[in-house]
């Protein structure tokens, strides 16, 4: 994923220059040495194969089958459906395809907003907390709490707060501040998008903060000192030194956040239950509903495969673009 695009450390570059690795010229234990890395990789490989790759292949096979409640008992008997499941999923003029497309668009919008906000909050907090000040350690601890809380515990609490009649949010907005004429709904209707976004950002930004803090520690102090001598103020230092130095970190961070947010199932599931309101109908929940609630796994698998293809293309394009962009700046 990001490995290949990560900046080469001095060591790695050095190793590259001596192909075949730096292992000694002795040839006697060659076989053992050649075998060893494979042996070390074997557990990881077997597990990934078992839990991810093979099931994925089965999933792809299923997407070409008419696997409904009538056949779940014995999958082998499910008739082949050709591309029927796919044409159902991508026919945007029919309700199923239209709903999928809408859910997809919602997910894209949600992911963009959530990743953007997480990044913004995380980066800003990391930069503001780059220097030591009294209480910094405590504050850093506090900021990591949302990340440390188990997802369901945190999300259930938010659901409790977003209740219309008894929740904290409306108590503040409506009863105390009087901002709205009637208490708005947060868990149904259009506002549920905002609800989902708030919860997702609350849960996700500390990760950005953590990574950014780590990234900032890699910036040598001398650069700031030199800049300060040149008369650059704090804001200028942030703009000219901090942000550009964080570019490689950003590349990783944005991609990881993107994948996590896009595939997020836990948050909407705990927040809204099995039937999310249209405005917050994220794609993984949508597919869950299309396959598990109605026991139509052929259609559900087809949708998942389309989703996977989309993620592959986006990730690939992203890596290609960012690494090329960096090469250009490096040169």
């Amino acid at each position: 994923m990001t490995l290949t695009a990560a900046p080469e450390t001095g060591e790695r570059t050095a190793r590259k220059n001596s192909p075949g690795g730096a292992r000694g010229p002795r040839r006697s234990g060659r076989l053992r040495r050649v075998g060893l890395p494979y042996l070390l990789l074997l557990p990881a490989l077997i597990l990934e194969l078992l839990v991810h790759l093979v099931p994925m292949v089965i999933g792809i096979v299923v997407s070409f089958k008419e696997l409904t409640q009538f056949y779940v008992r014995d999958w082998g008997t499910a008739p082949w459906a050709g591309f029927d499941n796919y044409s159902l999923a991508i026919d945007v003029n029919a309700p199923v395809g239209e709903a999928l497309l809408r859910s997809f668009a919602t997910t894209c919008l949600f992911t963009l907003s959530s990743v953007g906000l997480c990044w913004l909050l995380g980066t800003a907090a990391a930069i503001f907390m780059q220097e030591t000040f009294r209480g910094r350690g405590l504050l850093r601890t506090v900021f990591l709490v949302p990340y440390a809380l188990p997802v369901y515990a945190a999300v259930i609490t938010w659901a409790f707060m977003f209740q219309r009649d008894n929740g904290l949010v409306n108590h503040v907005l409506h009863d105390q501040l009087g901002l709205t004429d009637t208490p708005p709904f947060w868990l149904i209707g259009e506002n549920s998008f905002v609800t989902l976004l708030v919860v997702s950002v609350w849960k996700g930004w500390p990760f950005a903060f953590l990574i950014m803090m780590a990234g900032l520690q890699n910036i040598p102090r001398e650069i700031y000192e030199a800049a300060a001598l040149d008369g650059a103020g704090v804001w200028q230092q942030v703009r000219r030194i901090t942000l550009p130095s964080l570019r490689p970190v950003n590349q990783v961070l944005v991609l990881v956040l993107f994948l996590w947010t896009f595939n997020d199932f836990n948050t909407p599931f705990v927040l809204f239950g099995k039937a999310a309101p249209e405005a917050a109908d994220l794609i993984s929940l949508h597919i869950y509903q299309s396959s598990f609630q109605t026991w139509n796994f052929g259609a559900g698998s087809a949708m998942s495969v389309l989703l996977l293809l989309f993620l592959l293309v986006v990730t690939g394009a992203y890596l290609l673009l960012t690494s090329r962009g960096r090469k250009a700046t490096d040169a």
């Binding site: 490995l3 070390l40 009294r134 709490v145 809380l149 188990p150 515990a153």
Partner: protein, 291 residues
């Protein structure tokens, strides 16, 4: 809460007012946003049921610790807790061990198929769980039928599943971290007569403790909070907290105070552990993820 030190460490120049003020405002607001649910969780867990099923109040009308006793009666929380602990703990240990081996191989050896391996393993990170939930379950059932190893419905199956969730990220992180451990160190160890594995355990692993801790924390949290697979792959005796907590919304009512108390109880050990280890987390990520 953020106070204003006049002695910046890195910048030889005092920060201007605008910077200090925006820092103060921003960090205060952010602290409020972060702590709001925590306050709600704590205060609601101490409220009587009428309070939490009625209109929200900042200050409880009365305090009670009843919910903290009731939570163990309403659902077998202690059992769920043990299950979660066993599952998340084992998944973490296995995931980290396997990741250490794999990362060592990638970091220290060049071999045929290295790129294929890393790309394949890392790309599994993007698979939507929903795609392989049912097939995976089928595979477990068939392995169970063929070999008698019960994977479906058992903790073992869940451990196996969860450890692969954190594996890609862990491997990738550790590759980065191992790369930053000077190779001269393990070469020296080998000269001293250690085998490759000796070098790994005596030199590389001790040097990479922060990275390994960071990875372990990540693996643990991934397993501790997962809902989707747990809801399909567990039963009465193996149910984990993530699913078990739903037991507080019953036929009759949602016992919000108990939900909050239980959430707090199940969060405390994780949060405490996490915060204790946060020092490692930052150093681990610094070398592993962002280099």
């Amino acid at each position: 809460m953020p106070s204003h030190s006049r002695r910046p460490v890195r910048s030889p120049m005092a920060a201007p007012r605008s910077f200090l003020w925006s820092r103060r405002i921003f960090l205060t607001l952010l602290t409020g946003f972060v702590l709001l649910p925590v306050y709600v969780m704590v205060s609601s867990s101490l409220k009587p049921l009428q309070d939490v099923s009625g209109a929200f109040r900042w200050i409880p009308s009365g305090l009670t610790v009843r919910p903290y006793f009731d939570i163990w009666e309403t659902v077998p929380l202690a059992d769920y807790f043990m299950n979660s602990l066993i599952v998340a703990g084992s998944a973490t240990v296995c995931s980290v061990t396997i990741a250490v081996f794999a990362a060592y191989a990638v970091s220290r050896y060049s071999f045929r198929g290295k790129r294929v391996f890393t790309v394949t393993v890392l790309s599994t990170q993007m698979f939507p769980g929903i795609l392989f939930l049912l097939p995976l379950f089928l595979i477990y059932v068939n392995i169970g039928n063929a070999t008698g190893i019960a994977l479906f419905g058992s903790r073992g199956g869940l451990i196996l599943t969860y450890l692969t969730f954190s594996l890609p990220f862990s491997i990738w992180m550790l590759i980065g971290y191992f790369d930053s451990v000077p190779r001269d160190l393990d070469e020296a160890a080998k000269v001293d007569g250690c085998g490759p594995l000796g070098a790994l355990f005596r030199v590389v692993v001790p040097a990479a403790v922060p990275g390994i801790v960071a990875v372990a924390v990540y693996a643990f949290m991934t397993a501790w909070g997962e809902v989707l697979f747990a809801s399909v792959m567990t039963n009465d005796t193996t149910r984990t907290l993530a699913v078990g907590l739903q037991g507080y919304s019953t036929q009759n009512d949602v016992y919000w105070n108990q939900v909050m108390a239980a959430s707090l109880v199940v969060s405390l050990p994780v949060v405490a552990g996490f915060l204790l280890l946060q020092r490692y987390l930052v150093t681990g990520l610094t070398a592993g993820a962002v280099k």
